[in-house]
Subunit: 171 residues, 2 copies
């Protein structure tokens, strides 16, 4: 007689898998909707930037630099602001430098540091592309929510963003 | 006398920039929170998969294949399911094949087609990693919302996902 089987049936021993807090159906559908929207929206916005010969990450760099004092930022700060690794950002800035959108410059006060500087062409590109990009963001995302939904989602997401930014800062 | 300037002042000609439906502060903060959470969450989940030597896209492939009949899918269907281009998926499957997680197989009924097939090792990897991944998803996302927020966000995002899936299908 297999006492182990009987023991298990009477007072089930926890199985590793049973310890796992699997998502409920309700949680699962929200999680999948979030993943899908994040991924599909990035795809669609990228597609609509293609006629401007810009990748979505390039556009983000243009926006961040155009909002920075003197249109320039230390490469390390730009990596933090765009949540990229320094090596990945470096490759991207090289491509954007070749396209005439940004320039690398040495920091006057820090020989080890480098700035990324928006060129005149980069600034003009940003200004030309921004209206189309805003229309895309509205058409595929923002205008699809009621004002109440906009606020409810913001209030739900803002503390999550704070939490994740904190973890990122510590890494 | 510069009549053009006066005309413009009296009955302002629409400027291209003034036609742009820029986001309001309320819309802008929600848009930024969405972008930040999407990006930071992907970063954090990727980080927590690193001890398992898996990229987040690899994990997604394992999940999709493990849910497919016979643990296999046509490469074209897998590209659709994971919202990737066929060329990018092909590179990824090559890496995963080298890691022993999947196998490419010819379709028996379609000489042009290829299947990606989950290996026994791929299946075991998925089962080993899934509990940790679920805990990460809970800790950094799902458990940070009230049940009401989960439902409200799902109801807001689901039609947006439908809209974007429709656009993607047409492309």
């Amino acid at each position: 007689m297999d006492t182990h089987t009987i023991d298990t049936a009477d007072t089930p021993e926890p199985q590793p898998e049973e310890d796992t807090p699997w998502l409920t159906a309700r949680e699962q559908r929200m999680w999948r909707a979030h993943l899908e929207v994040a991924k599909l929206l990035e795809y669609q916005l990228s597609r609509e930037l293609q006629p401007h010969s810009l990748a979505i990450n390039d556009y983000e760099i243009l926006v961040v630099l155009s909002e920075a004092p003197d249109h320039r930022m230390r490469m390390t700060d730009l990596a933090t602001a765009t949540l990229q690794s320094k090596s990945r950002l470096s490759h991207q800035i090289t491509r954007m430098e070749n396209a005439g959108l940004v320039l690398r410059q040495e920091c006057p006060n820090d020989r080890r540091g480098l700035y990324a500087h928006l060129t005149e062409q980069g600034w003009e590109t940003m200004q030309r592309v921004a209206p189309d990009h805003v229309r895309s963001v509205r058409a595929h995302f923002i205008d699809r929510f009621t004002p109440e939904q906009l606020d409810a989602i913001y209030e739900a997401l803002a503390p999550v963003a704070d939490h994740l930014r904190g973890l990122r800062g510590r890494s």
